[in-house]
């Protein structure tokens, strides 16, 4: 149970081995306490989803394998394994691109979102316009423009500095991410009761302090699910990066299928990629759920 010091201070110096973790632990415990009270325990599924998915795929591969054997062809698993190293390289590209463009897009998007709630009409309007444009434009088209508008190498001081395709992909993908984040921020801020603004203002918080210390922290919980959604969408959209010339996993998969000229590889191959994505994204989903709980505010 809670250890309370003489001043009613929680935990600290209570002689436990992990004093640093205590506040969080206590908070979590309080949350679970609360969840019990509210009668809405949050589900913890851990690996169950994954197990199901794998089972499904094993069945399917087994079925395909039997077919291949009947047709006297090389087993599917062997054919697949041959390509795993190459495909995995492509997959790493997907992840790198998604992580970096998410980071870039989020930073830009928060700024843009805050500009959308600015008190100055020109800033508000222009940021609204930028947001709308980049959110509504198809991702593929934005990436395509990146081929045009960004050079493939930069010449400076007589040197050629290559401007690799994957950086173009990051830039091209971060634009729609930025616009989406901007809307998420605007929406969350708008849903906070005005009493919170007034309270902060009456305590002489300036606008920045109000936003960063009072409003945004309360928004975190409600911004996390759409933000995670966005990340999922982005990760899946990294597939489009092939247009700027990045050999990401889906492009490679298509090439592998062409090289093998075996259509019975189609489903197992994509199935394998599906599992990779899942194995990568699922822990992130769990993490955000945990973060969501961490930032939950009792209303």
């Amino acid at each position: 149970m809670m250890v309370r010091g003489p001043k009613g201070h929680a935990g600290l110096g209570g002689g436990t081995d992990l004093p640093v973790l205590l506040p969080a632990a206590e908070r979590l415990q309080r949350r679970s306490e609360r969840e019990r009270l509210l009668g809405a325990p949050r589900l913890r599924l851990r690996g169950r989803d994954l197990a199901w998915l794998c089972l499904m795929l094993i069945c399917f591969t087994g079925y395909a394998e039997a077919q291949a054997a009947a047709a006297g062809r090389e087993p599917i698993s062997i054919a697949l394994l041959r390509w795993v190293p190459l495909l995995f390289q492509g997959f790493v590209f997907n992840i790198v691109i998604s992580v970096l463009s998410m980071a870039l897009g989020t930073v830009l998007g928060v700024v843009l979102g805050l500009m959308q709630i600015s008190l100055l009409p020109p800033i508000r309007f222009s940021s609204w316009f930028v947001t709308q444009f980049f959110r509504n434009a198809p991702w593929l088209v934005l990436l395509f423009y990146c081929i045009f508008l960004l050079p493939f190498e930069i010449r400076a001081f007589g040197m050629r500095i290559p401007f690799p395709d994957w950086i173009k992909a990051i830039i091209g993908l971060s634009l729609p991410v930025m616009a989406n984040v901007s809307e998420i921020v605007r929406g969350a801020v708008r849903s906070i009761p005005s009493g919170q603004w007034e309270a902060a203002e009456s305590l002489a918080f300036n606008r920045n302090q109000t936003i960063w210390k009072i409003i945004l922290p309360q928004c975190v919980k409600r911004m996390l699910p759409p933000w995670m959604n966005l990340y999922a969408i982005l990760t899946m959209a990294t597939v489009l990066a092939s247009i700027v010339g990045v050999s990401e996993v889906m492009t490679l998969a298509r090439r592998v299928l062409a090289a093998e000229v075996r259509n019975d590889l189609l489903i197992p191959l994509y199935g394998m990629i599906l599992v990779w994505f899942f194995v990568y994204c699922y822990p992130i989903a769990r993490l955000t759920q945990w973060l969501e709980r961490r930032y939950a505010v009792k209303l």
Binding site: P85, L86, F144, F148, R160, G245, R255
Partner: protein
């Protein structure tokens, strides 16, 4: 693009590398080797170009949506990417004469569906590959109900599942499939049409490079290099390459 004004041959030599746009998803013309390297007839030709220039090579796999832009912009110096030579394309890039290859169009169809001429395709669901240049004709002239997928694996699966009755594609690919036992129930029921030449391309304004490549292609035809490559990659030499070989080796 402004880049094209400077002579690309110079740039290649200065750089020590030629950047070639190739296909990576069309066996046997350009596809992935077991270690992920680009192999096939066209990459081999590209390597030959690099050798002749005495430089290294770098491959950039291209698709229909980006290959012209890559070439115009200078991202690639040369494109050998199974591109059919058409008037529209000549406007955008400089397609080198003579053509280096050619292909015809035919059908892969289940036996006994009652198609014996192109006209029989009317209103039937027919599979195709997205972006192929004969798709329009198949639809417009023969009235087929076209279902185009991105890759051959998808098409072949759809064909086997009965989602379409035939697959309209390059005849060399179809011939290769018909050799396999899996496709024993299928046939190539119509005459090959549209013997369409393939062109390799350089950017507009690169006249030196154009002249150089033109000679290279002639030399390929003269020496029979392309026929040799066809044989190496298991394709029956097509009439076009044989004819070109005869033509150029004669004079």
């Amino acid at each position: 693009a402004p880049e094209a004004q400077a002579d690309v041959m110079e740039a290649i030599k200065e750089r020590g590398t030629i950047v070639v746009g190739i296909r990576a998803d069309y066996r046997p013309y350009g596809y992935l080797g077991p270690n992920g390297e680009n192999i096939g007839i066209e990459p081999t030709l590209a390597r030959d170009v690099a050798e002749r220039l005495g430089v290294d090579y770098e491959f950039v796999p291209v698709v229909a949506a980006n290959r012209m832009e890559f070439l115009q912009q200078g991202r690639i110096d040369l494109m050998i990417a199974t591109m059919t030579d058409t008037a529209e394309r000549r406007r955008v890039v400089n397609i080198v004469e003579p053509n280096y290859y050619s292909s015809g169009t035919n059908l892969l169809a289940r036996k006994g569906i009652g198609v014996s001429a192109w006209e029989d395709l009317r209103d039937r669901p027919i599979c195709a590959i997205q972006g192929a240049f004969y798709n329009r004709k198949t639809q417009e002239e023969f009235g087929a109900n076209l279902i185009a997928f991105t890759g051959t694996a998808e098409v072949l699966t759809a064909l086997q599942q009965g989602r379409c009755q035939a697959f309209v594609y390059d005849d060399s690919f179809i011939q290769a499939r018909l050799q396999e036992p899996e496709w024993a129930d299928y046939e190539m029921p119509v005459e090959t049409i549209d013997d369409a030449p393939w062109g390799l391309a350089v950017a507009h304004g690169e006249d030196n490079f154009y002249a150089f490549m033109s000679e290279v292609i002639e030399d390929w035809h003269r020496t029979g290099k392309i026929i040799a490559l066809e044989e190496e990659y298991g394709v029956d030499p097509i009439p076009f390459t044989r004819r070109m070989h005869e033509e150029f080796s004669a004079n």
